[in-house]
């Protein structure tokens, strides 16, 4: 049933593709809820546990085991629905989605079918240049995650060529909410950017709602991306491909760009797009054909007889609504006002993932401007050399605030502070510990500074004359000499003042 594609895939240039065709996309996002237990049983939810050590008879699908709904997971699903401006169902049911795969031990996934808990919503997504694009949400429903297959044998751990597979059911039964958009039209050439911004906005909302840690690299948030092309915005929708498991913001953008170019090449050559699932390859930035939609996609949904319907009272829904935290966009606007950042500065901060970090740094005592300077300056430069995110750097907002505190108190100058930062990032301890261990304090002993100043003046006697003669700007070269002599460990401002005082000149 599965088809492997050999040889290169025909592509046409992205700009040409979007000039000739109108892209329409849709995204299904799965988020793992950060409950303490699973959706339908009390097995603990833990990340990184030894295989099959977080399971119960229910999550293993053992005969006779019966599910009971996790009330907290329902509350989280309602929170998500409300944050996405959805209607919350008066009543809804679970349904069985029947299919056979080793990571689904019951031979069905407990999901929701015709009665999702939340429906008819929207999310206003802010693009990098500040444009707002509305994404319509069709539904958000509750379901459970599957276990994890590991393919053994074969070259690359992939399913092809594997001799057998090993199954760990720790993840089986973890609560998921799946959020499905309506077809998103009108994105044009910006379609990939809109898709990326949408998934990112969802991630920010999950975190703000405290319903999930929403860590992309752990697979807490996973996206399936549907894309189709049509000749013009007035044409009927084209045949779509569904690219599975696109699990980073950047990949969402890249996968859509790739599919636009691939499908455009097919259509331009007079071919057709096949309705199929496709696999995303992070390393090559390409998709390859997976399964073609078939008879096996008849999941024979029926109402789950082991679970009672859910009818969230309107009082409960309103109570949850009243308790919703400030949404990311509102919070961003508030912080921008508090911090007096320009629009472009704020966008850069948000796009760099530095908002929370700067907020925490400010809370630890740094000024907003200095917090932004560190995170968007030195630390952003460091992170560019890695594959990670700012939040993954081995430095805390409190340490950044402490470092700035040392600068503010005059104990460090900017140059030394950068060396201290290197030390903290290298795991040498807190800023104060690095200062002590590396002996990096500013020389504040005037006696030592005056000695260095005497030396520098003696080396440049003509400069001293110029300064006395009123060319104050010439003091810079003496300061430079002192800084060199003290290996940068002097407070340049203090040195300047001492030189002028010594020469009897008014600064």
């Amino acid at each position: 049933m599965s088809i492997s594609t050999h040889g290169p895939i025909d592509l046409i240039d992205y700009d040409e593709a979007v000039a000739r065709f109108d892209p329409v996309f849709g995204i299904e996002v799965h988020v793992e809820l950060g409950t303490k237990t699973k959706m339908f049983d009390s097995a603990p939810q833990v990340f990184g546990a030894e295989p099959n050590t977080a399971v119960s008879p229910t999550s293993l699908g053992l005969p006779g085991a019966l599910p009971v709904v996790n009330g907290t997971a329902v509350e989280y699903a309602i929170r998500i629905g409300l944050a996405l401006n959805c209607t919350i169902a008066e009543t809804c049911r679970f349904a069985r989605k029947n299919y056979f795969y080793p990571d689904v031990p019951k031979n069905f996934q407990t999901s929701q079918f015709d009665e999702p808990i939340a429906f008819d919503g929207y999310l206003d997504v802010e693009l990098e240049d500040g444009t707002i694009f509305r994404v319509e949400i069709e539904r958000a429903h509750m379901e459970e995650d599957a276990g994890k297959n590991t393919h053994v044998g074969g070259a690359t751990g992939r399913i092809q060529g594997a001799e057998y597979s090993l199954v760990d059911y720790n993840r089986a039964g973890i609560p998921l909410v799946e959020i499905v958009t309506r077809p998103i039209e009108g994105g044009g050439a910006r379609t990939p950017e809109i898709a990326r911004a949408y998934v990112r906005s969802l991630r920010d909302i999950f975190r703000a709602l405290e319903v999930s840690e929403a860590r992309m690299e752990r697979g807490n948030v996973r996206a399936d991306v549907n894309l189709s092309l049509r000749a013009t915005p007035e044409s009927p929708l084209g045949t779509r491909s569904e690219t599975k498991n696109v699990n980073s913001f950047r990949s969402v953008e890249r996968a859509i760009r790739f599919e636009v170019s691939r499908q455009a090449a097919l259509l331009a050559a007079g071919g057709v797009v096949v309705q199929e699932t496709r696999h995303w390859h992070e390393d090559t930035g390409t998709t390859t054909a997976g399964r073609i939609k078939s008879d096996a996609d008849d999941y024979r949904y029926f109402p789950e007889p082991d679970l009672l319907p859910i009818a969230p009272s309107r009082e409960w829904v309103e109570e949850i609504r009243a308790g919703l935290p400030e949404m990311p966009v509102a919070r961003r606007n508030r912080l921008q006002g508090d911090w007096a950042f320009a629009d472009a500065e704020m966008r850069d901060v948000v796009n760099a993932g530095a908002l929370d970090l700067i907020e925490a740094t400010v809370a630890a005592g740094a000024s907003p401007a200095s917090a932004r300077k560190w995170w968007m300056g030195e630390l952003a430069r460091v992170v560019k050399t890695t594959d990670g995110e700012l939040e993954d750097l081995p430095i805390t907002p409190v340490q950044v605030a402490d470092l700035q505190g040392l600068v503010d108190s005059g104990a460090l100058n900017d140059k030394l502070a950068k060396q201290v930062l290197e030390g903290v990032l290298a795991g040498e301890g807190s800023p104060q510990e690095v200062v002590t261990a590396r002996g990096l304090g500013v020389v504040s002993d005037d006696g030592a500074l005056l000695a260095a100043i005497d030396e520098a003046l003696a080396a440049q006697p003509d400069v001293a004359e110029k300064i006395r003669g009123g060319k104050i700007a010439a003091v810079g070269s003496v300061v430079g000499g002192v800084m060199k002599a003290t290996r940068g460990q002097a407070d340049a401002g203090r040195v300047r003042a001492l030189i002028l005082e010594k020469l009897g000149v008014e600064g």
Partner: protein
């Protein structure tokens, strides 16, 4: 009039991985037909004010508190497995991608 064809029974049996003989297909097509027609008769008498029922108990919102209990010991988990390796269930080669 028969509403459930023999082919339909064969297709659903295939989806459910149930191996049926030719005789069984004939018999089940007839039996399922009786069930479908009986349900259809109920639909005739049920008026619009009778909501569709998926459960016989008039109960809603039976929830469990989000309090973890210990996992089954891994030895018990794997006790019924035909084969296992490194604490995981061993399954034969998977031929189709999910």
């Amino acid at each position: 009039m028969s509403t459930i064809s023999r082919d339909e029974v064969a297709r659903v049996a295939g989806l459910a991985r149930i191996d049926l003989t030719s005789d069984e297909l004939d018999r089940l097509a007839g039996e399922l037909d009786v069930i479908v027609q009986s349900v259809a008769r109920i639909s005739e008498v049920a008026t619009a004010d009778v909501p569709a029922t998926s459960h016989p108990l008039p109960m809603f919102n039976v929830f469990r508190a989000d309090v973890p209990e210990p996992s089954l010991p891994v030895a018990d988990v794997l006790a019924g497995a035909p084969a296992s390796e490194e604490g995981r269930f061993m399954v034969p080669q998977i031929l189709e991608e999910d």
